[in-house]
Amino acid sequence: MATDSGPGMTLRALKLNPALIALLLAIALFFIGGLIRPGFVNVNQAVNILRLASLLGIVAAGQTLVIISGGEGIDLSVGSVVTLGAIMAFRFSNGQNDLLILGLLAALSAGAAVGLINGLGIVYLRIPPLVMTLGMAGVVQGLVLVVTQGALQGGTPPALAGLISSNLLGIPGSVYIWLVLASFLWMTLERTPYGKQLFAIGVNREAARLSGVKVPWVVLVTYALSGLLAALGGFCLLGFTQRVFLSLGTPYLFPSIAAVVVGGTVLAGGKGSYWGTMAGALVLTLINSLLTAMQLSEAYQLMVLGITLVILISVYGRQRSVRQ
């Protein structure tokens, strides 16, 4: 029972803001890491975790938009699109700094095109998002195989590698990209008509349509943005790994969804924020680093990860009771 006394109020305020809980949890996890393994808590480790979290966070940005849009919205093609984005940047920049922008544009347009096809299938052919994006993931993977035939030609421009791995004022470049993206997304969600319409269609598509929102248009833009942002994630990831392979983006698929959920965005749509997803990305990256630091065997790592995820989801991922 919550009372009106001080601690009760704070707890309630916390309950209202899952992004904040996730952030506090991330900080707590970091220090728990220090307890489990002395030496875990240091500046280098923190910087490393921030860099890894920024990559997941960028990939999960589009996923956040898609999930807010509701209508069973989910994007299972992000993994393949991350790979596609990295490969496009690798191929078109060909390892030259002059061609970096061309590589970026090629990656973004390829990603947006895949997202747009997802949106078209979902809006006009009424294919459920889960299977449409899953099917497109296969198509993208197939296209990559056909075009590259296993032999990937290209290179990572040194400028890109430098941008992601170098530290400006002690913070990796990818974190700056992440922060710029976050401010941009915050503006988009909170201050533009598109943002308002996105939340509106997430809550109730029919009501949104009746109040004049062009629902198909908003859904199309959202899935295209999701593809574009996943490709941006692939572009940044290329700077980090400096090589490309076919399963490059696969490890980002489900963590991108988990980051959104841990950040308090409801899978049913209409509610959530990108701040939450950012905190979620931090939490997930920390859990992974902790599991690695604990040097458990793969079997135990998987089980601990599963149990931790279930606990995290039960903290904020609960659905409303039918009794209410």
Partner: protein, 317 residues
């Protein structure tokens, strides 16, 4: 207009037409497609996914989704090849099957507990539990291996009365489904899936119904693992991973909506057959290796788009 009603009552009609078309193409390029040997081969390969996708349908009709079915298959596969050795007698095999069933049902019950009673979101929850089951599978069987008695694998290849064993299994599944559908539980299942609030208000124990769909999916995953293990005769702690998403695609291809409260398992079985025939077509049409993934995925997307395209063409958006 009777045609439209017919279509609504049989949502798998499109899938059935597609399957017939694909079979016709496949038969035209594979001369022995209709031989008992080839048919039995196809059934042997597809049966595990069919059983698994039937479990997935149950969960989806009840308004949920289960992303851990593949991991449960891996877990039960690991248990079976650990408990059964080539020298195992009938008693040992039956015991192993019972342990496998219990493991599947326990895993499903854990999912059901989280989703139905703790009200966690099914997609992420079952994804999380799939890690637990995969971890357990790896713990039991750290690396691929194990061998089954020859008699068991021979039994799985058998064709009693010149009919593949898989056909009998499918008939049993369909009969059981007919029973479930007409039972009170069946009514509860569809009501819960289409509108849980309304179902709860009218006195249906919605949490219990959802819980049982997950237990059912766990049990059917165990059966799928039996078929898979008998089919390949050995174990691999990762064997089921790729089957999860296939099972969902098969359910949707079969005309069951992901939003719940509608559909059936006949469509799902057809959906699995479509996925299998597409794969068989690609291998018999000599599609170059680099193109196989693309062709496979494109046909699946087109198959998913089929009903929507049909609606667009008829001008009813």
């Amino acid at each position: 207009m009777t045609w439209r009603r017919f279509l609504r009552q049989n949502p798998y009609l499109f899938a059935l037409l597609l399957l017939i078309g694909l079979i016709a193409i496949n038969a035209s390029i594979q001369s022995n497609f209709f031989s008992l040997r080839a048919i039995n081969g196809n059934f042997r390969v597809l049966l595990p996914l069919m059983i698994l996708a039937v479990g997935q349908s149950l969960v989806i009709i009840g308004g949920g989704i289960d992303l851990s079915v593949g991991a449960m298959v891996s877990l039960v596969n690991a248990i079976l090849v650990t408990l059964i050795v080539p020298e195992s007698g009938a008693g040992g095999v039956v015991l192993a099957l019972l342990v496998g069933c219990s493991a599947g049902m326990l895993a499903g019950a854990f999912n059901g507990l989280c989703v139905a009673y703790l009200r966690l979101q099914p997609i992420v929850t079952t994804y999380a539990t799939s890690f637990i089951f995969s971890g357990l599978a790896l713990l039991i069987l750290p690396r691929p291996g194990g061998q089954l008695p020859r008699a068991l694998t021979r039994f799985y290849r058998s064709t009693p009365l010149e009919i593949p064993l898989g056909v009998y299994v499918i008939i049993v599944l369909l009969l059981l489904w007919a029973l479930v559908r007409s039972s009170r539980f069946g009514q509860y299942l569809f009501a819960t899936g289409s509108n849980a609030d309304a179902a709860y208000t009218s006195g249906i124990p919605t949490a219990l119904v959802k819980f049982s769909t997950y237990v059912g999916a766990g049990l059917l995953s165990a059966f799928a693992a039996f078929a898979l293990t008998l089919g390949i005769g050995s174990g691999n702690p990762r064997i089921g991973d790729a089957m999860t998403l296939d099972s969902i695609v098969a359910v949707v291809l079969g005309g069951t909506r992901l939003s719940g409260g509608q559909g059936g398992i006949a469509g799902t079985i057809i959906g699995v057959a479509i996925l299998g025939i597409i794969r068989s077509l690609i291998s018999f049409a000599n599609v170059p290796t680099w193109y196989q993934t693309l062709v496979n995925a494109t046909i699946i997307v087109l198959a998913l788009a089929g009903p929507g395209l049909w609606r667009l063409i008829r001008g009813r958006v």
